[in-house]
């Protein structure tokens, strides 16, 4: 297999929002990108996605030699993977399609080249069933837009070999991504489970006439959404506990887990879960005192609000 830092050419299979976003990301990092999509109009769609992303990517800083011209759309899958040191599959979310496509990609891709699926929620175990050499198949789940959001969740299936998970994690890190390498399969992985719980609650509220789309979006953009780029949900609540941190927060607000604040039942707040949350927050914050985290959060919230306002007014001018 190639060294993750020595790959120069990647193949993108699928030219939707995610496949196109990956292509833009690889192009901006200076790679040759070979793309294939069986659908009509794939070349035009890819070009529009890359064109739409390029101002942002230019603003962020392009790698040496990066150019939209390094994108080649090929007429067949075999030609697309030819010479690629990595393959990113971003087909529609349909298990039968993924299974068959991953087997096809596997059949034409040289041994030792890792093939990653952008799937939002299927496990690799259920997707790799038809592939001849499933050991190099991994999930590499990005977030939209893949050319800007750093997170990639990497996880293998039962027949994936460990080296492929490690190789993909190293490759994405080399690309500048923030990688979570998961040790076990979990439907929806981590970020989508969190996001999906929120989304389902939102859909219930609209379905029941309890809130409008606009109220739901304002509730997030002007509320907790301003904190989440700086501190995730755990550290956010660590700070909500005041000087007592997560321990005080759970002791104080723990009973509200029994309240019908969402349609999702909470787990039992056992001593063990409480202690895991408390020690997890200590560790995630490097044991920094609450006052220091509060100051960090405050600086960041102000900066985030200004950044969003400026990016809106830049548009209005």
């Amino acid at each position: 297999m190639p060294d993750p830092t020595e790959v120069r050419t990647v193949a993108c299979v699928g030219a939707g929002v995610i496949g196109g976003g990956w292509a833009a990301h690889f192009l901006a990092r200076g790679y040759q990108v070979r793309a294939w999509d069986p659908g009509d109009g794939a070349e035009g769609r890819l070009a529009r996605i890359v064109e739409g992303a390029w101002p942002a990517l230019t603003e962020l800083g392009l790698a040496d030699g990066a150019s939209p011209d390094n994108l080649t759309v090929l007429p067949s899958l075999a030609e697309a993977v030819d010479g690629a040191g990595f393959v990113q599959e971003s087909a529609p979310e349909d298990l039968a399609v993924k299974r068959s496509l991953l087997a096809d990609i596997d059949a034409v891709t040289p041994p030792g080249v890792v093939i990653a699926s952008s799937t939002s929620g299927y496990g690799m175990t259920e997707m790799q069933t038809e592939a001849a050499t499933p050991g190099r198949l991994v999930v590499g789940h990005p977030f939209n837009p893949p050319y800007l959001i750093p997170l990639v969740e990497v996880v293998g299936g039962e027949r994936t070999e460990r080296w492929a998970v490690d190789w993909a994690s190293a490759f994405y890190r080399h690309l500048g991504k923030s990688v979570i390498t998961m040790d076990r399969e979990l439907p929806g992985f981590i970020a989508n489970r969190l996001q999906e719980a929120l989304w389902r609650e939102a859909l219930h509220m609209v379905a029941n006439g309890e809130a409008t789309v606009e109220q739901i979006d304002t509730a997030i953009t002007d509320g907790p959404g301003l904190r989440w780029p700086v501190h995730g949900p755990c550290l956010t609540f660590h700070l909500a506990g005041g000087e007592g941190g997560m321990a005080h927060m759970l002791d104080h607000f723990g009973p509200s887990l029994k309240a019908p604040w969402t349609r999702l039942d909470a787990p039992e707040l056992t001593e063990r879960l409480r202690d895991d949350m408390v020690s997890g927050c200590e560790s995630a914050s490097d044991g920094r005192p609450i006052a220091e985290l509060v100051a960090e959060r405050d600086r960041a919230i102000i900066a985030v609000q200004r950044a969003v306002a400026a990016s809106r007014s830049a548009h209005d001018e």
Copy 2:
């Protein structure tokens, strides 16, 4: 009742993280703040919270005459509300405490002055049962820290009079807040229901050893959390649908609502819910084309990432 714009003095009842945060906010906006808390050490705690918040508030810009010196901690509730044109109650989340305290505040506050509770989840209907004049009691639910996060959710109980809900909404808007005025009570209001669904899923994952505190926080800060200050969950998915927007997104990803991506079951995706989501996104985005929203999102995500990075490195220097 006073005009919302003519209030000069507010009373803060409760000196925890939220009560102290409200005090800091009112002080920064130039108000005289009269505070009371029956607990030990309230004066010192309040002073520390205001001191911790002041650099951020100064950076944001103080109103004329704003000063931490305008905070007076009084020895009794009656003295605290004396002369106040508005009362914000931020006692611990305990229904019996809230009921009794709101009745006590009501008893000593002049008629026509609105009394708002910071409760995170109780309905005003269940909290106003012991008050003699419940018509001026409303929920005014802020987000931590109340001196920076704009969102305030305003909702009355069954015995609340409409003028009080309108008055509180106008007063918070005058303070610069982003106000959601709810027409009906809903446990946890809107933002907390969304946030709480995500939080409960996080607790389940930690309880089951499926993810660590650190992985959960990274999944949000480096993933969907970067989009939420600019577009809420609905517009985020409107963009995930590509040129087809929310309609394409629901038609494409709708089936995944049946998948076990979270422990929260989704509602049935009826034609009506689909259409409500599609028209809601059209309305929330003022019908702007997806490409324009994508450009806005991209500018904002870059700016948000830079803002967070800068606020961290400012600290490290």
